[in-house]
């Protein structure tokens, strides 16, 4: 077992860190305050291949591994949680299911533009009545055999990259099936393009954190999409959604890790500068012990996140491998650590930590969502314990 990063990963981290420092960090505060989607930076990330890191070169991607992708989300999130989640939702929740379940035609049609960032991806599973309980889906898709089109009706809420995306993976009910003597909803997944008649946007959410990410309601009213836009097999949508979220959790875990690391870096610099009682607050044992605990937790989170990323990489070459538990553990730990680290970093900043000009204030607000989206911490505990007790 070797914990040393390869030369490739060291160089990739250097690249992402440089990009984050030069391009992303200067915009982070404005993105948060004005709730602006950082379009220019997303275009730049597309130009440099950050939007298609694990996509094979034959589909216009970078042909890199999942760890490199996780490191990209991590480094962006160190300075801007919004930018981190844009990359994560795009890659894990839209690009990945097309890559994993798409037909050759679907991959050839959608992946090159997604991998180059010309188009942005999103994923619609959550509904007002179907969050953690994904089986509670109400959105319906009915096949019109006369025209060979699926007709979508319903709505999705809290969709990341909502209005800025071009390609959406949408989960919908396509009928009923009997499972173990019970009638269950048959769920399928679809690829929906922006601009399809009947596909509109509802309200934009006014959020506590990750305020620059475009979070919208998606509304489908007799929205007709071609039959060939069914993603994967009919009736397999629930599995596709759950498997997609397994991967998404690695992205969000990387986002949480980045937020924790970013807050810790800012705080280490701050406590050396800030003087109270005639000496820097870094000289107080309370500061030292708190920082020591936080750094230890951040390192633990990093190891879990990187392990989950490497486990998913194993899956890429052998689809018998499951990374569900590793992803759940990484997200559970990283999200809770991010919340603790950012909160304690605000505390070490004292009154200044509560002021908008200081990055840790934003990071603390950004961190909270990592305990909630793509499966709450409680859902991660369900996944982990179910594997333990099966």
């Amino acid at each position: 077992m070797d914990f040393t990063l390869s030369k490739e990963h060291e160089m990739a981290r250097q690249l992402f860190a440089e990009f984050a420092e030069k391009e992303v960090a200067p915009m982070a505060q404005e993105v948060d305050e004005t709730e602006t989607f950082p379009k220019e930076n997303v275009e730049k990330m597309g130009k440099y291949g950050f939007m298609g890191i694990p996509v094979p070169k034959e589909y216009g991607g970078q042909g890199c591994d999942i760890l490199t992708y996780a490191m990209c989300v991590e480094e962006m999130s160190k300075v801007c949680g919004t930018t981190g989640v844009i990359v994560s939702a795009h890659t894990s929740l839209c690009v990945d299911p097309i890559l994993t379940y798409g037909t050759e035609e679907q991959k050839a049609k959608y992946l090159p533009d997604l991998a180059s960032g010309k188009k942005i991806g999103a994923f619609g599973l959550t509904e007002p009545g179907a969050g953690t309980d994904a089986q509670g889906q109400q959105t319906k898709a009915v096949l019109d055999e006369a025209t060979n089109e699926w007709v979508l009706n319903g709505s999705k809420c809290f969709i990341t990259n909502g209005k800025e995306a071009d390609i959406y993976i949408v989960i919908a009910v396509t009928g009923k099936i009997e499972k173990r003597g019970k009638m269950m909803k048959e769920i399928s997944s679809f690829i929906v393009e922006k601009g399809t008649p009947g596909f509109t946007f509802g309200t934009k959410e006014n959020k506590m954190g990750i305020r620059g990410s475009s979070t919208y309601e998606l509304i489908f009213t007799d929205c007709r999409i071609p039959a060939e836009n069914l993603l994967g097999q009919k009736g397999k949508g629930f599995n596709i959604a759950m498997h997609t979220l397994d991967g998404g959790r690695i992205g969000i875990a990387a986002q949480a890790l980045g937020l924790a690391e970013g807050a810790l870096e800012k705080t280490v610099a701050y406590v050396k500068e800030r003087k109270q009682f005639g000496r820097s607050i870094a000289a107080f044992q309370n500061t030292q012990f708190v920082l020591a605990d936080l750094a230890t937790k951040v390192e633990a989170a990093k190891l879990l996140v990187y392990k989950a990323a490497m486990k998913k990489q194993e899956y890429v070459t052998n689809n018998k491998v499951s990374y569900s538990v590793e992803a759940a553990m990484a997200k559970l730990a990283a999200a809770e650590i991010a919340m603790e680290v950012t909160t304690k970093c605000v505390q070490l900043h004292g009154g200044y930590g509560y002021i908008r000009e200081y990055d840790v204030e934003r990071m603390m607000r950004d961190a909270k969502i990592t305990e909630i989206y793509e499966g709450t911490s409680e859902v991660q505990r369900m996944v982990i314990s179910a594997a333990l007790l099966k």
Binding site: S6, K7, M11, L15, Y48, G49, Q62, G63, C64
Partner: protein
């Protein structure tokens, strides 16, 4: 069109500086980056690749660790990297360095050689023009803009208060200013390819038409008497006089005390 770009691995100004007992830099002990002027030169070459399909070869002289800047260059889009490394080449000043690099370039085909104006560690601005002299090529230094017109380069050569527009027939050498352009980033896929790419490594034996007496520390006319890191200044004294006259008087008194005036 074939372009050779000479790059140097220099200490990262964010890190500390370390010296060998003989006063030369202990490069192995320092964080390192691609010299900024050289990176601008590389970007200029990559734009020629984008526009004219130029083949870009990147060459560096240094410790084996200097291969890192070649990999960075390949990850940005360069086609191949050549590392010139040999114990006998160590401790070289600008004369020995330019002799070595010219000896390496004599093995290559080229239309244009691009070097940075100067490196942030030595700040001499001598190596580029010296390479041109060794190779008998025209040189245009301080390039702020670079265009190709048939078999000629057209260069905007920058001065403090003016610029010259200069044409030269290729093959020739230009030295680039960091202001020439905004270098591109590497790409993740480029990094993965660069780490797999083979770096050509040349030693003393591969250098063409050079004499041992012009190489390494022994072949360097420059002798370093003493080298030191930047001496850190104290915090100073802060005074807040009531008027500009009092402030001027205060400064004058201090300068008189020190016999400066």
């Amino acid at each position: 069109m074939k372009v050779v770009v000479c790059v140097k691995q220099v200490p990262d100004t964010k890190g500390g500086v370390s010296f060998n007992p003989d006063g030369t830099l202990n490069r192995a002990a320092m964080l390192a980056i691609m010299n900024p002027d050289d990176k601008a030169g590389l970007e200029a070459a990559l734009r020629l690749k984008d526009e004219y399909g130029a083949e870009v070869t990147v060459l560096t002289m240094g410790l084996p660790k200097a291969a890192d800047v070649l990999r960075e260059a390949i990850a940005m889009g360069a086609d191949k990297g050549i590392l010139v490394t040999d114990r006998v080449l160590g401790g070289a000043d600008t004369w020995a360095t330019s002799t070595t690099i010219a000896g390496a370039i004599r093995n290559l085909e080229y239309d244009l050689i691009i070097t940075g104006r100067q490196a942030i560690d030595g700040d001499t601005a001598q190596v580029g023009p010296q390479i041109a002299e060794h190779l008998g090529l025209p040189v245009i230094s301080y390039t702020q803009e670079l265009k190709i017109d048939g078999d000629k380069v057209i260069v905007k050569r920058q001065y403090d208060d003016r610029y010259h527009m200069i044409e030269a027939k290729m093959p020739c050498l230009v030295t680039a200013l960091a202001e020439l352009n905004e270098p591109r980033y590497m790409t993740p896929g480029g990094i993965f390819d660069a780490c797999k790419a083979e770096i050509t490594t040349w030693g003393r034996a591969d250098l063409k038409d050079v004499d041992d007496s012009n190489l390494g520390l022994k072949g360097s006319p420059t002798k370093i008497a003493k080298a030191s890191d930047k001496v850190r200044k104290g915090a100073g004294t802060k005074v807040t006089p009531d008027s500009p006259e009092e402030a001027a008087q205060y400064i004058t008194d201090r300068l008189l005390e020190k016999h400066v005036i």
